[in-house]
């Protein structure tokens, strides 16, 4: 299968990465060569194989549901590109 420009644009929309026409062209060719390589998997019969999601057999550990507050709001907000000292600030969403 081949990935066309329209598909590249669609994926970029889903991935929330803006892509101009020149970059889309380059991505189209890169992704096609990568998928050509990936398609090799179709030679393999996997009908009897169970999907492997994790190599760890252990059950997930449960922990007590308790608050472990470190009171580091200000430090966390310091890393944000824009805040009003109490909250993260983003462009207006509701008109």
């Amino acid at each position: 299968m081949t990935i066309d420009l329209k598909t590249v644009k669609k994926i970029s929309k889903l991935a929330r990465i803006s892509v101009d026409d020149k970059k889309a062209k380059k991505l189209e060719s890169d992704l096609n060569s990568i998928f050509e390589f990936i398609e090799k998997l179709n030679q393999l019969d996997t009908s009897k194989s169970e999907p492997l999601t994790s190599v760890v057999d252990a059950k997930l550990q449960l922990r007590k549901d308790e608050i472990k507050s470190q009171n580091i709001r200000d430090q966390i907000l310091k890393n944000s590109p824009d805040d009003n000292k109490d909250f993260f600030v983003v462009p207006k969403v509701i008109e």
């Binding site: 990935i3 598909t7 590249v8 994926i11 970029s12 889903l14 991935a15 929330r16 990465i17 803006s18 892509v19 991505l27 890169d30 992704l31 060569s33 990568i34 390589f37 990936i38 398609e39 090799k40 998997l41 179709n42 393999l44 996997t46 194989s49 169970e50 999907p51 492997l52 999601t53 994790s54 190599v55 760890v56 252990a58 997930l60 550990q61 922990r63 470190q70 580091i72 430090q75 966390i76 310091k78 890393n79 944000s80 590109p81 824009d82 993260f88 983003v90 462009p91 207006k92 969403v93």
Partner: protein, 484 residues
């Protein structure tokens, strides 16, 4: 006495315990050498002044019961360090200051280590040559204009150039072992679940593992016993009995069954790598190991499966970089526009490429054909190893299908870059431990590595085999400090 920076970690620890050397002397020696080695571009963030202060503090009230008392260490910039910038080699995290410390680095400081600074790496650990970092490519100390490998390229380069006595990296598809092989050092990827992933910038969570990169196998055993720990902050951390890997290190290779997988004899592999593999086999045999021909029939499918699984997990892990809570933001007309511009400008080309692959294979209508298929293939690859381990104790292969290449040589061809990892990726898919040790040089004098793959949680065994091989191989680094 020889140069401080020539000593192994184990020797340094001994000297500091005997009070032959102070922490300050050691730290100063490394800082001075790093100052003269800027050309290699190994550091993203230096923390030298703090390191020297901490060394002073250590000398004033030393605690020699620690495993690495007063020893300075630089680490890959993928480990979050509290109050010290952590970038993952990305513009999007250029100014990120973590409010917490990764468990693995915390373990190192708890045993007396002192942070020297943060080492360059491929952006979000995505790359095999350290050319995708926002902070510029890393030079290999082996030769000018040569890549150190990746993604832990800064770590490999800094260690090989003797800018840190030891270091740690992370390995998702070979990111410790491939650069170790390219620069003539030892690198170990532990069993999945051995070293906590807490505080490590996530790439592909079902594959990522931290591990030591060291001058020799003894140092590697020491570092592993420090960083490996059960951690309830990582839900995939496994609670098993960890050994004192250094104390139990021995050359017991006699009677060990070592498998040689025929599928690793790939087309186009240079003769010198084939010869090196043969040399490893001969040494193991002479030391009393039993060599067994084995087959891992699905090896060829590991890399394509990896390039579905890893990008899929990455696309989901990297969704958090949206310009809101931390990191770089580019202004937009509205929220969505802001997200799209931020991610477009904040991520480099390789990271964007992988997010796009991951988004595509997880998108509606393609999930079964790609992602589910890859997970089924992953099962077959793990089954291959399980079958082989009924017959052998460990597997011996070359670490990489080629030696280090020139900077820029493979940047325009992603698939040829990906092929670097054909011998290392299957190990991550199966969650197994594997070590790469330097074992020889090619005609140009570039190092070559051998990889020993073990059963899950059998790190002691592969360390022991590596230790026996190391003695016989007698690898000598040929570096001449050309960059100074």
């Amino acid at each position: 006495m020889s140069n401080i920076t020539d000593l192994t970690l184990v020797d340094l620890v001994e000297k500091i315990k005997k009070k032959d050397l102070s922490s300050k002397e050691i730290t100063k020696a490394y800082v001075e050498r790093a100052e003269k080695s800027k050309k290699l571009n190994t550091y993203i963030t230096e923390d030298f002044n703090n390191a020297l202060k901490k060394a002073d503090n250590f000398d004033n009230s030393p605690d020699f019961d620690k495993k690495i008392p007063g020893i300075p260490i630089a680490v890959k910039d993928l480990f979050c360090t509290k109050n010290l910038r952590t970038t993952a080699g990305s513009k999007i995290l250029e100014n990120f200051i973590p409010t917490y410390e990764s468990t693995v680095t915390n373990n190192i400081w708890n045993e007396g280590g002192i942070l020297l600074g943060k080492l360059n790496c491929d952006e979000f650990a995505m790359g095999s040559s350290n050319e995708t970092s926002f902070f510029g490519n890393v030079q290999s100390p082996v030769a000018e204009k040569l890549v150190p490998g990746g993604s832990s390229g800064g770590s490999a380069s800094a260690l090989a150039a003797k800018l840190t006595p030891t270091t740690i990296g992370t390995d998702t598809g070979g990111s410790i072992r491939q650069p170790a092989s390219f620069t003539g050092i030892v690198g170990l990827k532990p069993t999945y679940g051995s070293c906590s992933r807490y505080g490590i910038v996530a790439f592909a969570s079902s594959l990522d593992q931290a591990g030591p990169m060291t001058r020799d196998v003894k140092d590697c055993a020491l570092m592993l016993s420090i960083i490996s720990s059960y951690d309830n902050k990582d839900s995939t951390s496994i609670n098993f009995k960890r050994e004192d890997y250094l104390k139990k290190l021995n050359k017991s290779i006699k009677g060990k069954k070592i498998g040689i997988p025929k599928e690793y004899r790939v087309e186009g592999m240079p003769k010198e790598i084939e010869d090196l593999w043969q040399k490893g086999i001969t040494i193991a045999k002479e030391a009393g190991a039993e060599i067994v021909d084995v087959s891992l029939p699905n090896t060829n499918y590991a890399l394509p499966a990896y390039y579905i699984v890893a990008p899929a997990e990455a696309s989901s892990n990297l969704a958090r970089y949206d310009g809101v809570k931390y990191g770089f933001r580019s202004e937009g007309k509205n929220l969505i526009d802001m997200y799209e511009k931020t991610r477009s400008e904040g991520f480099g080309n390789e990271v964007k490429r992988r997010i796009m692959i991951g988004t595509y294979v997880l998108s509606s209508g393609y999930y079964d054909a790609y992602y589910l298929k890859a997970q089924k293939v992953r099962r077959l690859i793990k089954d291959d190893f399980d079958d082989v381990y009924k017959k052998v104790d460990a597997i011996l292969t070359p670490s990489t299908p080629s030696t280090a290449f020139k900077i820029g040589e493979k940047t325009n061809d992603p698939v040829s870059m990906y092929l670097n990892d054909i011998f290392t990726v299957p190990v991550n898919l199966a969650g197994l431990p594997a070590i790469s040790i330097p074992a020889g040089h090619d005609q140009k004098g570039y190092p070559l590595g051998l990889q020993i793959i073990g059963k899950a949680f059998d790190e002691q065994n592969i360390l022991n085999i590596a230790y026996s091989l190391q003695e016989e191989v007698n690898f000598k680094n040929k570096m001449n400090d050309w960059w100074m």
